[in-house]
């Protein structure tokens, strides 16, 4: 229903930094939102051609297929180490990792803590959807108490299976971390706030201020066993209480950044 005789202005378009390719993500999966935000921010900063991405293992293993950006693919959990290697030899490039919660907060906790403690000048996109998506919805380090998964079929029992890890809070305690925030992708308002945080995180790197990480609460409708719409409600009702949104570390120099 286009009114053709009135001039129009394009006010929102798919970013060119995203490759023209259909993702393998399930309908409604907010991995796609996070991808788009990264593409938009790098495009707005004019950094697309100067960036090297590090994909991880998990649902986002094929992230490299969706960006018009040089990419490498890390072993499970090792993306921050790989990014360290790249950034140290190419300090003028923008280097980021894109990791899920299984990859970063479980098998890769050592690598991310090491990178943060060194103040490694890299940026991490951290997707927290409280489950192992790719392998079929098993319990993740971020799975909520009582949450039913394919490997906690009666709900996560914290006495037996331990407590979820609050990654941003943990990393914020490290002196080397410059910018650690948690955002959510469950509605337009929070998505816009997430984008601003991603922009800030990349600015932190651009200005050489140290380690930056944006945690994004994300959904997994398929493994949570609900519709995409319901899954966003679940983020709001369940995840936000255990994973409060906020700025966990903003170093004084970072606080000066205006985006």
């Amino acid at each position: 229903m286009v009114v053709t005789d009135v001039p129009t202005k394009l006010v929102y378009d798919r970013p060119a930094a995203l490759d023209p390719r259909v993702t393998h993500y399930c309908p409604g999966c907010t991995h796609g939102v996070a991808h788009r935000l990264v593409a938009e921010v790098l495009q707005e900063m004019g950094e697309v051609e100067n960036t090297i991405g590090v994909a991880s293992v998990g649902c986002s293993v094929f992230a490299y297929n969706y960006f018009d950006i040089d990419f490498v693919e890390a072993a499970h959990g090792r993306a921050p180490a790989m990014a360290t290697g790249i950034k140290r030899v190419l300090p003028e490039r923008t280097v980021f990792t894109y990791q899920g919660d299984g990859d970063l907060a479980s098998i890769g906790m050592g690598e991310v803590v090491g990178a943060a403690s060194r103040g490694e000048n890299i940026t991490i996109m951290f997707i927290n959807n409280a489950t192992y998506g790719m392998t079929g919805g098993q319990m993740a380090p971020t799975t909520l108490p009582g949450q039913v998964t394919s490997s906690s079929p009666t709900g996560r029992d914290v006495d037996r299976q331990g407590h979820p890890i609050q990654t941003s809070e943990l990393l914020a305690t490290l002196e080397g971390s410059a910018y650690i925030v948690r955002r959510s992708l469950h509605n337009a308002r929070e998505i816009r706030r997430a984008k601003k945080a991603i922009r800030t995180a990349f600015e932190v790197q651009k200005q050489g201020l140290g380690f930056s990480l944006v945690e994004m609460l994300s959904n997994c409708p398929t493994n949570w066993g609900m519709t995409a719409v319901e899954s966003r409600d679940w983020i709001e009702e369940r995840m936000l209480t255990y994973y409060p949104l906020g700025d966990y570390k903003v170093s004084p120099a970072v606080a000066e950044i205006k985006v």
């Binding site: 229903m1 509605n187 337009a188 966003r232």
Partner: protein, 80 residues
């Protein structure tokens, strides 16, 4: 009120997740149950185009970057 803009849904990308339908504050969007995309989804479309304000919320929440938003420019009355 006339519409302030319109959206286009790229049916290559649309996966019928309904997030745009749910989030449109004006109730403009719906899934087109009469049609299937090449990937077998009922695509989102403008069911009530006259209500579109070109607010971009649909595009912001779309996980597949399938939505393009256009806004009508204000046209000054020539003889005003």
């Amino acid at each position: 009120m006339p519409p302030k803009g319109y959206i286009e849904v790229n049916e290559l990308y649309c996966k019928a997740c309904e997030l745009c339908v749910e989030d449109c504050p004006q109730g403009v969007l719906a899934l087109d149950m009469e049609r299937l995309t090449s990937r077998g989804y009922h695509p989102a479309y403008m069911e009530n185009p006259e209500a579109c304000t070109a607010c971009r919320i649909c595009a912001v929440v779309c996980p597949d970057a399938a939505i393009t938003v256009h806004r009508y420019e204000k046209v000054e009355a020539k003889d005003g």
